[in-house]
Assembly symmetry: C2
Homo-oligomer: 426 residues x 2
C-alpha cells in the first residue's frame, strides 16, 4: 500500500507508471469492494485511461518547453459523491438524483486534475451528506459503521483502495469517519478550500476535507487544495496543548474517557487540561439551529418534489429546519460569532486543542455514529484533524483530534506531526 | 448662516472664535426651536464650554510642539439621538429609554471630537429610528413633516441651527428628510462609517449618514468620518447618468414624475433612461423581510418589557418580524446579494443613477413620508445623496437623488458636484 507521496515520487522518477498504480488500486477494489462497498461509481476503463494519459504526459514532459509535472502526477484520488465531476455521475447519495451528470468539475476536482491526479471514482456519501447511513462498511469490521457522511472516502483510504480521498464536513463528517476507519482526516479552516460545484447543505458550516494514510499525504493534498505550506518544524520543541473535554464529554464511553485522560497525563508538561467557559455548552443547539435552518432552504426543492423518497431522519431534520424562526437563526449566528471569538482566544494561549475525535470506536452499521465531538469545532470554523493513534478495547481505531486556530492550518499540521512522532517513539 | 467649511476657516484663521459660532447657533435655536422642535437634548452651557475649550486649544496651538488643529475645529455638529454621547443622554426616541446615559461616545462622535467639532446637542429621532413621527416639524412649513427617521438632524441643518448633523439610514432615513427639508443628505456605502455605539436596528441595512447645507460641507464631513477623498474633478466633462424610475415609480406624485422626466431630458446626452430588470421589483419585499426580521431580534428586550409603550406601527413591524421564518430570511439575504450584483453591473456602464429622493414634497405632519425611493439603494448598500435642487408646485423642496457604485463614494460626490454646477448655471 503506497502512500500518495511515495506514489507521486515513483511516477515522477519513472520507476512506476500511473497506469500501474491505478491498476493496483482497481485490483484491491475488485478484491475488497464486495465487503467494504466504498464506491458509488467506478469505471475501470476510464480510470486506466486517465492513468495512461498521465503516463503520456510524463513521457512528453521535456518536449515543447518542458511543462513541469504536478505534485500529484499520476496519483489516484477518490472523490465523495456530492462533489461534481464532469466525467462521472454525482448523485448526492440520494435516489432523487440518481443518474445526475454535472456538466462541470467542482473547483477542487479542477485543482486535483491540474496537479496531475487521476480521479479514480466517486465514493459513497450518506444521503445528502447527512445522517442516514449508506451501504459502506467499516473495513476493520464489516458489522461496524465507517462513520459518515464521507463514509466511502474514509473506508476506501483505510482499506488501501486509494491513497487519497476528498470529503466534506458540516458537523463531523470528515473527522468521525477518519477516526472510525483509522486514517488521517483533515478538515481545514472554514472557507479555506473553495466549495464551487459541491452540494451545499449549510453555507455557514460546510467545509471541504480530505483523507489519507499519512501526515505527509495530508500535507501534500492540503498544499494542492488549500495552499497550506507546512514547514518542517523542530519536532523536539513541544507545543502547548490544551486538553479540552467540552460539554459533551459524558457522551464518550468510559474507555475513551480513560484513554484520553491517560494520553493527556502522558504528555506531561506539553498538555494542560482546560475548561471552556460555561457558555460553550450552547454550541450544540446553536449548530443544530444553523444547520437545520440552512439545510431546509438548500434542500427545499427535494422537500417539495420528493419528500417521500427522503429518509425519515432527513425528513425530520428538514421539517424542524423549516420551522426555525428568523429570530432564532439570527441569534444562533450571533452566538456562533461569540463562541468563535472565545475559541480564538484559547489559541492565543495554546498551540492546539487535544480532544477525542469521536465518542468511542465505530458503532454498529445502523448508525453513522455520534457527531458531537466535531460540532463545536465545525461551528467555529477552526481546522481539525483526526490522527489514527489509538485503539479501543475492541481493537478498533480511536482517533485523536487536534484542533488549531482558524486560518493557521499549517501550524496545526506541524503540531500533529509532533504528536505523532511523540506517540510513535514513546 | 455660515457653512461648516466657512466656519472652520474663520476659526482656523482667528477671525471668529468657536464660542461665537456656538452662540450664533444657540441664538438661532432659541428663536426657532418652538416652531421647529429639532432638538431632543441641548445644554447651552455645555455647548458654549466646548466652544471655549476649542478656543483655548486654538490659542495654544503653537505651544508644546504645535499640534495641528482638526478640520472641524470649533465647528458645531448635531448628533441624532440614537448615536451615543458620553456627555449627553441618548434616548433612541423612545420613552422606554428616557434618561439613558451612555458611558462612551459612539465611534463617529469620537471622530468628530478628534476633528475638533463641538457636539452641540442631540437631534430628534423618530421612535427607534423607524416610522412613528417625533415632535419635529418641517422648517419650511410647520404643518409638514421633516421626514424621518433623522428628523431633527435634517430640520436643524435646514433651519440654520447648526451647519452639520449626523443621521442614520435603514430604509430612507437620511435621503428622505434631506429632500423634504431642502438640504444635502449623504448616505455613504454600507459599512463605510463604523457603527459602534449606535442603536442597531438591522445590521444588514443600517448605515450612518450626514446632513449639510453645501456639497463642500458634505465633502468635509465625509473625509472626517469615512475617509472619502474627493478630488476636484473637471466639471465640464459630463458623467454618464442613468435615469432610473424603479418599480415604485407610480408611487411618485404626478408633478414629481413630470419634473424628473423633464430634468432627465434637459440633461441631454449626459442622461439616459435605463430600465432595471424585472427581478428588481422584488427588492421592496426583500428589504422589508430583512429589516423586520432583524429589528425583531434587536428590539427583543423592548418587545418583552415594554411592548405597550411602543407605537402601534412599531408593534406591528416587530410582530411581523418575529413571525419571519428563517427560510424566508435566508432567501431575502440571497436575493439581496443578487440585486446588489445586478446594481453593481449598472455602474460598469454608468457613473451614477439619477432618481427621485422621495415620492414628492413633504407630507403632512402625521407621517414621515414614503421611504420607497430609498429602499432599493439602501438594500444594495450603495452610496446615495439627496441634492436640494428642485421644488414642487407647493414651492417646497424636492430632492434629486444620485446613487453611485458601492465603495466609490468619492466618485458619487464628484458627479453630484457636476450636477449641481450644471443645474445652477442652466
Amino acid at each position: 500500500m503506497l502512500t500518495a507521496s511515495d506514489a507521486a515520487r515513483l511516477v515522477a522518477t519513472g520507476e512506476t507508471r500511473s497506469e500501474q498504480l491505478v491498476e493496483a488500486c482497481l485490483a484491491r477494489i475488485r478484491e475488497r469492494e464486495p465487503a467494504v462497498q466504498a464506491w458509488q461509481f467506478l469505471d475501470e476503463a476510464h480510470a486506466l485511461s486517465q492513468g495512461r494519459e498521465r503516463d503520456r504526459e510524463w513521457a512528453n514532459r521535456n518536449r515543447a518547453g518542458g511543462s513541469a509535472l504536478g505534485p500529484l502526477h499520476g496519483v489516484a484520488v477518490g472523490v465523495k459523491d456530492i462533489i461534481d465531476t464532469s466525467d462521472m455521475p454525482t448523485e448526492y447519495g440520494s435516489a432523487l438524483h440518481a443518474g445526475r451528470r454535472p456538466e462541470k468539475d467542482a473547483a477542487v476536482v479542477t485543482s486535483l486534475r491540474a496537479a496531475g491526479a487521476v480521479i479514480l471514482g466517486k465514493t459513497v456519501s450518506t444521503e445528502f451528506a447527512t445522517y442516514a447511513a449508506g451501504k459502506t462498511r467499516n473495513p476493520h469490521d464489516p458489522t461496524r459503521s465507517p462513520g459518515g457522511s464521507s463514509s466511502g472516502s474514509a473506508a476506501a483510504v483505510a482499506d488501501g483502495m486509494v491513497p487519497l480521498a476528498l470529503g466534506t464536513q458540516t458537523n463531523a463528517s470528515v473527522v468521525r469517519p477518519a477516526a472510525y476507519c483509522g486514517v488521517h482526516g483533515f478538515k481545514p479552516s472554514h472557507g479555506r478550500i473553495p466549495r464551487d460545484g459541491i452540494l451545499t447543505l449549510s453555507p455557514t458550516l460546510d467545509t471541504v476535507g480530505m483523507f489519507a494514510r499519512s501526515l505527509d499525504d495530508i500535507d501534500l493534498l492540503a498544499r494542492v487544495l488549500a495552499g497550506v505550506e507546512t514547514v518542517a518544524a523542530d519536532s523536539r520543541t513541544p507545543p502547548r496543548l490544551a486538553f479540552v473535554k467540552t460539554a459533551v464529554w459524558e457522551r464518550a464511553d468510559l474507555p475513551t474517557r480513560a484513554t484520553f485522560a491517560a494520553l493527556s497525563a502522558a504528555l506531561g508538561s506539553a498538555c494542560e487540561e482546560v475548561h471552556l467557559p460555561e457558555a460553550h455548552a450552547g454550541a450544540w443547539d446553536c449548530h443544530r439551529t444553523i444547520m437545520e435552518a440552512e439545510m431546509a432552504v438548500q434542500l427545499d426543492r427535494e422537500w417539495e418534489n420528493g419528500r417521500d423518497r427522503l429518509s425519515f431522519s432527513l425528513r425530520e431534520q428538514l421539517g424542524r429546519g423549516r420551522d426555525v424562526p428568523a429570530s432564532a437563526y439570527q441569534r444562533a449566528l450571533k452566538r456562533r460569532t461569540q463562541l468563535a471569538d472565545s475559541v480564538a482566544e484559547l489559541f492565543t494561549r495554546f498551540d492546539a486543542v487535544l480532544t477525542p475525535a469521536t465518542a468511542g470506536t465505530a458503532p454498529p452499521l445502523e448508525t453513522t455514529g455520534d457527531p458531537a465531538f466535531g460540532t463545536l469545532w465545525t461551528l467555529c470554523g477552526v481546522p481539525a484533524i483526526s490522527l489514527p493513534l489509538l485503539h479501543g478495547p475492541d481493537s478498533l481505531p480511536l482517533g485523536v483530534q487536534l484542533v488549531g486556530a482558524r486560518g493557521d492550518d499549517a501550524r496545526l499540521l506541524r503540531h500533529a506531526r509532533w504528536l505523532e512522532d511523540r506517540l510513535r517513539t514513546a
